[in-house]
């Protein structure tokens, strides 16, 4: 069984219409899975569903063999999931270090080691550790956001468009870091606008259209698929 | 929109007032009715702002007080010696003040951004302020020196008192326009604090500008739109009438006077509700509600939301001003110290919420019902305390202590009712639609 396996997720926001329709998402241990698709396809909604921020009408979410469908987001954090939302993913008036500390809020052990690790992974975060996170540039903020999520030492890290609004150079750098994280054995589920680059580093790719799985394959295969290339990757 | 339960609730309200008549006295019943009608008009004003436009006004007391001021300025006879002593000078000073403010605003708008502009505007305001004070202070001193025990103020225009009602509306509308112009673009809780402030300032003006209102010395003996009891008691026709129905002419005269007021107030309320219902079911009213329900969408559709808000804010305040003028007329005196926010701002809010915001009938019902409670909670509690403590000795300290405190039951009750309604029936007694 996969490390994360979300199956047949169906549901929407509150009493509104269903946005997800029988959506399946699975991630293996230490693997990078990428979700791509047009705007409004339900990518973020799918991530929220996996993280328990949506009431699913149908479907289940299983993490590491345990059914977590009914758990709250906080409980899922305890189970080893970390989430970086697409927007508002930092505490702007708190220092960078405090952002990391808040990431470790549920931990009762000594988390200094983890902070050191985050600093090592993101030297920019270390440099700006005493500055308010709200004053940082877009790329630095995203690094802080990822760093915050890493503080719980998650086994599954979920990133919603981590490269939104950053320059191509910073984007490459962020992707490198994400690969590094995956190499430590952390599974990664990531939504990306920059489909081509993301699929290049992906072990597995999901193309979502209108809340449904349109294509699912390895990153490589999706990049090679002429249908996918034509409709979603711009030729 | 009239609902099936509307007439039932109003009938029940009538029963409550009849109850006061039967258990206490008809004089009391009419007192409750008259103030209830005035409260209902205040509630209509706030409901227009909150229920139809979502504007958060906590300066009601100020607009009500301006209505009160209008009665003095319209109906009292002018105090000629005071006018001779300093009237024109005081008016000139006020004109200068207005001129200075206009000049400052013009300078701000016309001049290019920068230090020079800030300094110029500052200079205009500061120099203007001192010129104003130099003209104003001696004028005020002269006016207030004229027979200060009885007069010491300029008086009014000596016009019929009923004219003060629309004038009160105009005063309040003017003040509301000024506030609205500056504060309506702000977030709702900033608007709330701004209106809270303006309310306090208007009350401060009424309390301290003795040349205008006699301040805490009050203006007594305001003219009445209805006959005086003493005149009635001497009138042949009235005495015959009372004799024919077998009533005591003294009680009868005071009831007759109150009935006259009630008739006037009812006329105003019916007129207002009719106008408001017409307006609110017109395209204008529908647009107002559309704006309240989705401001951003309406803005995107090219509607000038702030201008609409200004209209409705001014109209709502005007209604509160009219109510204020009516109340001062009924009281027969202006007592600036009596304008307390708890009584005239927050209580009116309880009326609107309990009645059902967004529904004019609800506002009227809420106004009358909450006023009834405000007046009757005390006697009812005293009655209850007396039953509960009937086992105690007549002079029991505990009992006296409780009876002393019972006055404040009304605050507790109002809070409790507001909280219960918000929690269990947030749309009020008569919900919108």
């Amino acid at each position: 069984m996969s490390f994360l396996s979300a199956t047949k997720m169906t549901g929407g926001y509150g009493a509104g219409p269903d946005i997800l329709h029988e959506l399946d998402l699975t991630v293996e241990k230490g693997e990078i899975a990428v979700i791509v698709g047009p705007n409004g396809a339900g990518k973020s909604t799918g991530m929220k569903a996996v993280f328990g921020m949506l009431n699913l009408r149908e479907g289940s979410v299983v993490l590491d063999g345990k059914d977590i469908t009914t758990l709250s987001p906080q409980e899922r954090v305890h189970m080893g999931m970390g989430f970086v939302p697409q927007v508002r993913n930092i505490f702007p008036t708190m220092s960078v270090r405090e952002n990391l500390e808040m990431g470790a809020f549920i931990r009762n052990d000594d988390y200094e080691k983890t902070i050191e690790q985050v600093y090592e992974l993101f030297p920019a975060v270390y440099e700006k550790r005493d500055q308010n996170a709200g004053e940082l540039s877009g790329g630095q903020r995203q690094q802080v956001a990822v760093g915050r999520a890493l503080m719980t030492q998650p086994k599954l890290l979920m990133l919603d468009e981590p490269t939104a609004g950053v320059s191509p150079i910073v984007m490459d750098e962020l992707f490198d870091r994400i690969i590094e994280v995956a190499k430590t054995g952390i599974s990664i589920l990531m939504v990306e606008q920059n489909a081509r680059q993301a699929l290049e580093i992906a072990d597995k790719g999901y193309v979502l259209v209108q809340g449904r799985n349109a294509y699912t394959d390895t990153g490589e295969a999706l990049l090679a698929n002429p249908e996918v290339r034509r409709t979603f990757l711009g030729g | 929109m009239m609902q099936s339960r509307t007439p039932i609730y109003f009938a029940l309200m009538g029963v409550l007032i009849l109850g006061v008549g039967i258990f206490e006295s008809w004089n009391n019943a009419l007192f409750v009715l008259n103030f209830g009608l005035i409260s209902a008009i205040m509630a209509l004003g706030v409901n227009l702002q909150w229920g139809y436009a979502g504007l958060f006004n906590v300066g009601v007391v100020g607009f009500v007080a301006l209505g009160g001021l209008s009665v003095v300025l319209t109906s009292m006879a002018p105090v000629s010696p005071a006018w001779e002593a300093g009237g024109p000078r005081a008016l000139l000073a006020l004109l200068v003040a207005v001129g200075v403010i206009v000049a400052a605003i013009m300078a701000w708008k016309k001049m290019a951004k920068g230090k020079v502009r800030g300094l110029t505007v500052g200079a205009i305001l500061i120099v203007g302020f001192f010129i104003f004070r130099a003209l104003f202070d001696p004028a005020v001193a002269a006016i207030e020196a004229v027979n200060s025990a009885q007069e010491g103020y300029l008086g009014g225009l000596g016009l019929p008192v009923l004219l003060a009602w629309p004038v009160g509306g105009l005063f309040a509308a003017g003040a509301a326009w000024l506030i609205g112009k500056t504060a309506l673009g702000l977030r709702s809780d900033y608007l709330a604090i701004a209106t809270l402030g303006i309310g306090e300032i208007i009350i401060a003006v009424l309390k301290n500008e003795d040349w205008l209102t006699r301040g805490v010395k009050n203006v007594n003996g305001l003219p009445r739109p209805v006959p005086y009891e003493v005149d009635l008691q001497q009138s042949e026709t009235f005495l015959n009438l009372m004799a024919s129905i077998g009533a005591d002419p003294v009680t009868g005269s005071s009831i007759f006077v109150k009935l006259c007021y009630a008739a006037l107030f009812l006329a105003v309320i019916i007129g207002l509700v009719t106008l408001m219902q017409l307006a609110l079911n017109s395209p204008w009213g529908r647009m107002m509600r559309a704006i309240r329900d989705n401001e951003t969408a309406c803005e995107a559709m090219g509607k000038d939301v702030t201008a609409r808000h200004l209209q409705i804010f001014v109209l709502g305040a005007a209604i509160c001003g009219i109510a204020g003028a009516m109340m001062t007329t009924l009281d027969g005196q202006l007592t600036p110290a009596s304008y307390q926010p708890l009584r005239f701002t927050f209580l009116v809010w309880v009326m609107v919420i309990v009645g059902g915001s967004g529904n004019n009938w609800g506002a009227v019902l809420g106004g009358m019902f909450i006023w009834f409670l405000w007046v009757e909670v005390e006697p009812i509690s005293i009655f209850l305390v007396e039953i509960v403590t009937s086992g105690l000795a007549e002079d029991s300290a505990l009992r006296d202590g409780i009876l002393d405190r019972v006055v404040y039951m009304r605050h507790l009750t109002m809070g409790l009712i507001l909280l219960l309604v918000l929690r269990f029936s947030p749309r009020g007694l008569l919900p919108e639609k």
Binding site: Q74, V77, H78, F83, P85, R88, N89, I90, F91, P92, T93, M94, E98, E101, M102, G103, F105, I106, R148, T152 | F56, V58, F129, D137, A183, L186, R187, S188, D189, Y190, A192, I193, A194, L196, G197, I198, E200, I201, A204, K207, N208, P341, L342, F346, W349, V350, R405, V407, Y408, R410, H411, L412, T413, M414, G415, L416, L418, L419, L422, R423
Partner: protein
């Protein structure tokens, strides 16, 4: 021209009282701003909360005085302060549980909570008056002055006296301690940081495993303490009268907004801006001007810009100016 005496007069009548008043407003505004930052509404019942805490302090002070317990030169009220804080905390926690909690659960609009707080205000107002009535009460005991005007004149040989009351110095000292404690709590402790995190970004705080109900509870506790301290300092400095505390709502809100709603530092700055403006603009400068002018000359009038009755107008004017030109306040507040 007598510069020294002018300075002493100005200090005596403006700087000293405004510093004390500013400290009181600042602590009051801190309470308002914390509620706004965490619970996201303007709490109209804050004045009443201040009055309630102060009332308990006053009653306990009375008891202590009967038992003969005192602090010597310091007001007995200081000893009673913890009791007032505890009582206010119990009251606000009870209110939160019975009233506000429901609206958080249904995610009510902030303006709804403001209206709810009006209901709470009414009820607290009633309870307060039923317990203690509406009279004006003084409860400051101990040494009245630290420096007496007469002594000051003797020491310095100046013709103008400087009087510093114990309550004024006490206000400043207690305010400093309170603010230091509060900032230490908010910036250095895990719980305090979690409060700031919640205020900054509620959703992310939830994702980080911060328990919102705990944050809210701690906030109310802190607010109860701040409100009681502010109310007691004000009451010691002037007197205790329930009605006055409701009137304080305007300058307190003005302080919080001028500083930037949600910003603790802003609340403190706002408190002093409002207090100094109010007192400077309503002070009759006749004495100071007389000292500064040529010998033997004195101005005709009081040289008072505004009558003290218009002090609310000052808070209001500053509030409006700040809102028009810098809507987020001097220190960047939140705009929910």
């Amino acid at each position: 021209m007598d510069f020294l005496n002018a300075l002493v007069a100005f200090t005596n009548f403006v700087i000293v009282p405004a510093s004390a008043y500013g400290a009181q407003l600042a602590i009051g505004a801190l309470g308002v701003t914390l509620i706004y930052g965490i619970l996201r509404f303007s709490n109209f019942a804050h004045g009443e909360t201040m009055a309630f805490g102060t009332m308990v302090v006053l009653l306990v002070t009375g008891l202590f005085q009967q038992w003969g317990i005192s602090l010597g030169p310091l007001p007995t009220a200081l000893l009673a302060l913890p009791f007032g804080i505890a009582a206010a905390a119990a009251l606000v926690l009870f209110t939160d549980k019975t009233v506000y909690k429901f609206y958080r659960r249904v995610k009510a609009a902030p303006v709804m909570l403001v209206i709810v707080s009006m209901g709470v205000m009414f009820m607290m107002n009633g309870i307060l008056r039923m317990i203690i009535g509406t009279d004006d009460r003084r409860f400051a005991d101990g040494e009245r002055f630290i420096i007496r005007a007469r002594d000051f004149k003797e020491w310095t040989g100046l013709s103008e006296g400087l009087a510093i009351r114990t309550t004024q110095v006490l206000t400043i000292v207690v305010a400093l301690i309170t603010v230091a404690l509060l900032f230490w709590f908010l910036n250095k402790t895990r719980t305090g940081k979690s409060m700031r995190a919640y205020s900054d970004n509620e959703d992310l705080a939830l994702l980080s495993g911060i328990n919102p109900e705990r944050v809210v509870m701690i906030t109310w506790l802190v607010v109860a303490a701040l409100a009681t301290v502010a109310g007691t300092l004000y009451g010691l400095d002037k007197s205790f009268k329930p009605f006055v505390y409701m009137q304080l709502l305007l300058p307190i809100f003005a302080s919080a907004i001028v500083g930037g709603l949600g910003s603790p530092l802003g609340a403190i700055a706002g408190g002093f801006v409002i207090a100094f403006s109010e007192i400077t603009l309503t002070y009759a400068f006749k004495k100071v001007v007389t000292y500064l002018g040529p010998d033997g000359w004195s101005p005709d009038g009081l040289v008072q810009l505004l009558s003290t009755d218009y002090k609310f107008a000052v808070s209001f004017a500053i509030l409006i100016i700040v809102l028009l030109f810098k809507p987020t306040g001097l220190f960047k507040g939140k705009s929910v």
